[in-house]
């Protein structure tokens, strides 16, 4: 019996101890009418047959050179990262509610919080949210709790559309108004609205949905001048290179939130990733999610434990800062090891390499006839290509060349039909960039 250790003799002895004869009797309090439905499940497989079947399924996904980004990025993950994170002691542990039996996980989370505060330049980080997009929704709710007043948030129109949809679903439930702030079609950057309209916060995406860098200092200062909180949406790898949210403008952003996936998390078709959320210490009691603190035991030995649990649902129930319980612990463990393995310098070198590769690719592609770059401003490792044909058709045609060319923006209602959001990371060598250019040239001639 897979994963069940009982043999017949043991089962019999246990039934006898319980005082029943048959296993069925264990369910004698359940009305018979509810029991023993026949379920349309396939027969079980041996481990060997299962492996064969799933290896086949895995092969049914085409291996592609990845030039897609839009919130999920192909990076090199050092071998040690998942070798360690997959150790049973991390992999199969529960949430560290018993701190004495969970010092491994707890110290990792404390280090994670420390790393995130240093990346973001803010004082406090929680121990993870589900992903970047739902994390942003949580950040908005947090801003509303801090600010009180009218439930409205200023959202840039060129936030990644996939994130915007999550805000719509989650914040819509609480009747929170999302006021769109338009972008300048010439620069692909945010156009400041005339007034704040009583909103609680401004979302400042650095990098935005076009890959273009925003004037974050001015935006942050504008938000503060209008009594708004500034919520920074950031790529954590880019932060090795770009200004930390805590340093934006005169006073710094109030929160920084983002998708943690670039920090050592495999793409896996979209998840599990993790959301990070950092804030000022003054706001820590409004922070959703778990938080680890350093403390001591009776003998004065240092140790770690969860803290401020009164914010959470298992204590505060309906009045908690969020309903989140299980979050993304193992992803955060991997991200912590990943950050340590690369180190501060390695993260910076990786970020720089991504930028250089993307810059070269952009040059290569822009040199093709008919291909335009709609936005000229500085960027990190993603940029928009304006093609003379529908971007999704071009993308599909490039699959035949083993290339995932990028993410068509118009599919999700942003930009023009020919706009393709293209990304390059350190994984792509010069030969890959050229292969993309050549394939695109060929495809544009035929599609």
């Amino acid at each position: 019996m897979p994963y069940i250790p009982h043999d017949a003799a043991e089962t019999a002895a246990m039934l006898a101890a319980v005082g029943i004869q048959r296993l069925d009797q264990l369910f004698d309090e359940i009305p018979a009418a509810l029991q023993a439905a026949d379920m349309a499940l396939p027969e079980g497989l041996s481990e060997m047959a299962l492996q064969r079947e799933l290896e086949h399924r895995a092969l049914d996904n085409a291996p592609l050179r990845c030039f897609a980004g839009a919130g999920a990025y192909a990076h090199h993950i050092p071998a040690i990262v998942w070798d360690i994170a997959s150790r049973g002691e991390f992999y199969s542990a529960y949430t560290p509610y018993q701190p004495e039996a969970s010092q491994g996980t707890l110290q990792v989370l404390y280090e994670y919080q420390s790393f995130i505060t240093r990346l973001t330049g803010l004082e406090v980080s929680n121990a993870s949210l589900y992903d970047g997009a739902s994390g942003l929704a949580e950040a908005c709710l947090m801003a509303l709790r801090i600010q009180g007043g009218e439930p409205a948030i200023l959202v840039p129109e060129h936030l990644l559309p996939s994130w915007r949809r999550v805000l719509d679903s989650m914040l819509g439930l609480q009747r929170i108004r999302l006021r769109s702030v338009p972008y300048d079609p010439d620069t692909g950057t945010l156009r400041l609205p005339g007034d704040a309209g009583g909103a609680a916060a401004l979302i400042i995406p650095q990098i935005n949905g076009f890959g273009v860098l925003e004037a974050v200092d001015a935006l942050t200062d504008w938000a503060h001048a209008h009594g708004l909180l500034a919520i920074a949406v950031v790529n954590p790898l880019a932060l090795a290179l770009l200004k930390a949210p805590g340093e934006w403008g005169a006073r710094g952003a109030d929160m920084a939130v983002g998708e943690g996936q670039p920090l050592g998390i495999p793409l896996t078709g979209g998840g599990p990733y993790f959301g990070f959320l950092a804030c000022r210490k003054a706001h820590v009691r409004q922070l959703p999610g778990r938080l680890v603190a350093k403390t001591v035991d009776g003998q004065g030995r240092e140790g770690f434990c969860l803290t401020l649990q009164a914010r959470e649902q298992h204590i505060r129930r309906g009045k908690a800062t969020s309903n989140i319980c299980t979050n993304q612990g193992l992803m955060v463990t991997a991200a912590t090891i990943h950050m340590a393995a690369l180190g501060g310098h390695g993260l910076r070198r990786t970020a720089l390499t991504c930028h250089q590769r993307a810059s070269r690719l952009r040059k290569h592609l822009a040199a093709l006839p008919e291909v335009r770059l709609p936005y000229a401003g500085p960027f990190f490792h993603e940029f928009v290509l304006r093609l003379p044909r529908p971007a999704s058709a071009v993308r599909d045609a490039l699959l035949g060349h083993g290339i995932l060319a990028g993410v068509p923006l118009a599919d999700s209602g942003l930009g023009e039909a020919g706009d393709l959001l293209v990304c390059a990371t350190e994984l792509l060598e010069e030969a890959d960039l050229r292969a993309y250019r050549d394939a695109l040239a060929a495809v544009l001639e035929t599609v």
């Binding site: 897979p2 069940i4 499940l41 996904n61 360690i84 039996a101 035991d297 309903n323 299980t326 612990g329």
Partner: protein
């Protein structure tokens, strides 16, 4: 001689800034992260891992959490490069293998729950709850039935239930339980009315017993125009035997990281798939996977489900977790799934009897345990001042994880114990022996328990100090 990589501070020359990014957009102060060598990283985190309890190393009778074996083959399959290197924006024709796996999982979860349709996207149980009650809300709204602002929730329910209901814009009304563990039907009937959107239940309840009058409850709620939400956290108790859909539930979530053996990972990631009856299908969260007539698979979008409650994550959910759940289900098959609840119940009832034999008091001695059960140690507290917390901490000294304590809050000084089906009789017998010894220690040397644990990397930690100092990040 500390274990922390924060002790290392290596100074490598930093690479130059890129010329094409304006200086004011660049990092102003150097990134202050450590730069340890690879062996230092490996050693540091390997050693840290050894300070953890885990399923792979300890018995974990943690009620409500279903800490069962996480098959390693499921992990191996989920990290195959063909899955792990797949970008979420890969067009469907280039990811048929993954889509097919997800579609199969949807089908199988529908079969297991007796529901009509499934969305796999919620990232954990709580997000599943949010999606579920949001669907209830959308359902009433779609019918123009606007006044239903209240969600009924038993007092004993998990904290995420009321928190999720609130996040979905509901008012929460708590319903008490009776002394025998069943819901107080009279209280329920008192609250039912035109302002009630539905009720969130789990069955067996968090009290470790089956809600016997579930059909009646469903009848009353439905008659009052409300819907029933099933919190699937306790599904392990009835897996393959009772379908929530047949109990009268309209919508539910499943904790794949409990019932379907995906790992807890020290706090996630989980997956909280939602399953619904036909009438709620239009409201499912996006995306789901659908099979075209020609036998190809694709994601659904807003065009397919225009009345969907929307999206909960930027992509398709915690796919790596879903892959593990798929592998687990495929391995077990119909017969294996049916065995899960049988042996989970056998282990729980055996353990309950044995622990009673060595002197512990059951919260519901007249009831059959489900997959878990509650003990109360108020007798110890009265005799020697020993609390459930002390028993829990002392267990750690014997290499056994503590049960869940002080939840549900109804039973004073309670221990909620869930052995799961993957533990052997030998392990249970050892647990009983240790619990017997601890009981004796409690009576004879209570100070030993109060100071426990004694054999772990740290002793009992000062949690009040932690909250006071709030040292939540290493500052240089």
């Amino acid at each position: 001689m500390s274990d922390s990589i924060f002790d290392h501070d290596h100074h490598f020359p930093a690479a130059d800034d890129p010329a094409d990014i304006p200086a004011h957009l660049l990092r102003q102060t150097p990134l202050d992260l450590p730069n340890p060598a690879e062996l230092e990283v490996l050693r540091h985190y390997t050693r840290l891992s050894q300070k953890n309890f885990s399923i792979d190393t300890q018995f974990y009778p943690l009620g409500s959490c279903t800490m069962k074996y996480n098959p390693r083959i499921a992990h191996a399959m989920a990290v195959l490069p063909g899955f792990a290197r797949l970008h979420p924006d890969t067009p469907a024709p280039a990811m048929q293998g993954l889509l097919r796996v997800l579609w199969e999982l949807q089908e199988w979860l529908a079969a297991v729950t007796g529901m009509a349709a499934v969305s796999l996207t919620p990232a954990a149980g709580a997000q599943g709850e949010l999606a579920g009650v949001a669907m209830i809300r959308a359902y009433h709204a779609a019918r123009g039935d606007q006044g239903r602002r209240k969600m009924l929730i038993p007092t004993a329910a998990h904290g995420t239930n009321p928190a999720s209901a609130r996040m979905a814009g509901f008012e929460v009304v708590e319903i008490p339980s009776l002394a025998d563990g069943d819901l107080d039907m009279e209280a329920l009937d008192r609250h039912l009315g035109a302002d009630v959107a539905g009720i969130m239940l789990t069955n067996p309840s968090t009290l470790g017993v089956f809600e016997r009058r579930i059909a009646e409850i469903a009848g009353h709620v439905h008659a009052a125009g409300g819907l029933l939400y099933y919190d699937g956290a306790n599904l392990n108790a009835i897996l393959g035997r009772v379908q929530p859909g047949r109990m009268g539930f309209d919508v539910m979530h499943l904790n794949l990281h409990k019932t379907f053996a995906t790992p807890h990972g020290g706090g996630g990631p989980g997956a909280g798939a939602v399953a619904v009856q036909e009438r709620l299908r239009p409201f499912l969260p996006l995306p789901t996977v659908t099979r075209e007539a020609e036998g190809a698979w694709r994601w659904t979008s807003e065009a397919d489900l225009p009345r969907s409650i929307g999206r909960l994550s930027a992509h398709g959910g915690n796919i790596g977790v879903l892959l593990r759940a798929h592998a687990y289900l495929r391995r077990l098959g119909r017969a294996g799934v049916g065995r899960v609840s049988v042996y989970a119940a056998l282990n729980a009832n055996y353990l309950l009897k044995e622990l009673q034999r060595v002197g512990y008091q059951a919260a519901f001695p007249e009831r059959r345990a489900s997959h878990e059960f509650i003990l109360g140690v108020s007798d110890l507290q009265q005799a020697t001042g020993i609390r459930a917390l002390d028993v829990a901490k002392r267990l750690l000294d014997f290499g056994i994880h503590a049960p869940t304590i002080y939840f549900p809050q109804l039973v004073p000084e309670c221990l909620l114990i869930e052995p799961t089906e993957t533990e052997s009789k030998a392990t249970l017998d050892r647990f009983v022996a240790v619990m017997a010894r601890i009981r004796q220690e409690a009576l004879e040397q209570p100070e030993l328990l109060r100071a426990a644990p004694h054999h772990l990397p740290v002793g009992r930690l000062d949690e009040a100090l932690a909250a006071r100092r709030l040292d939540v990040a290493a500052v240089r």
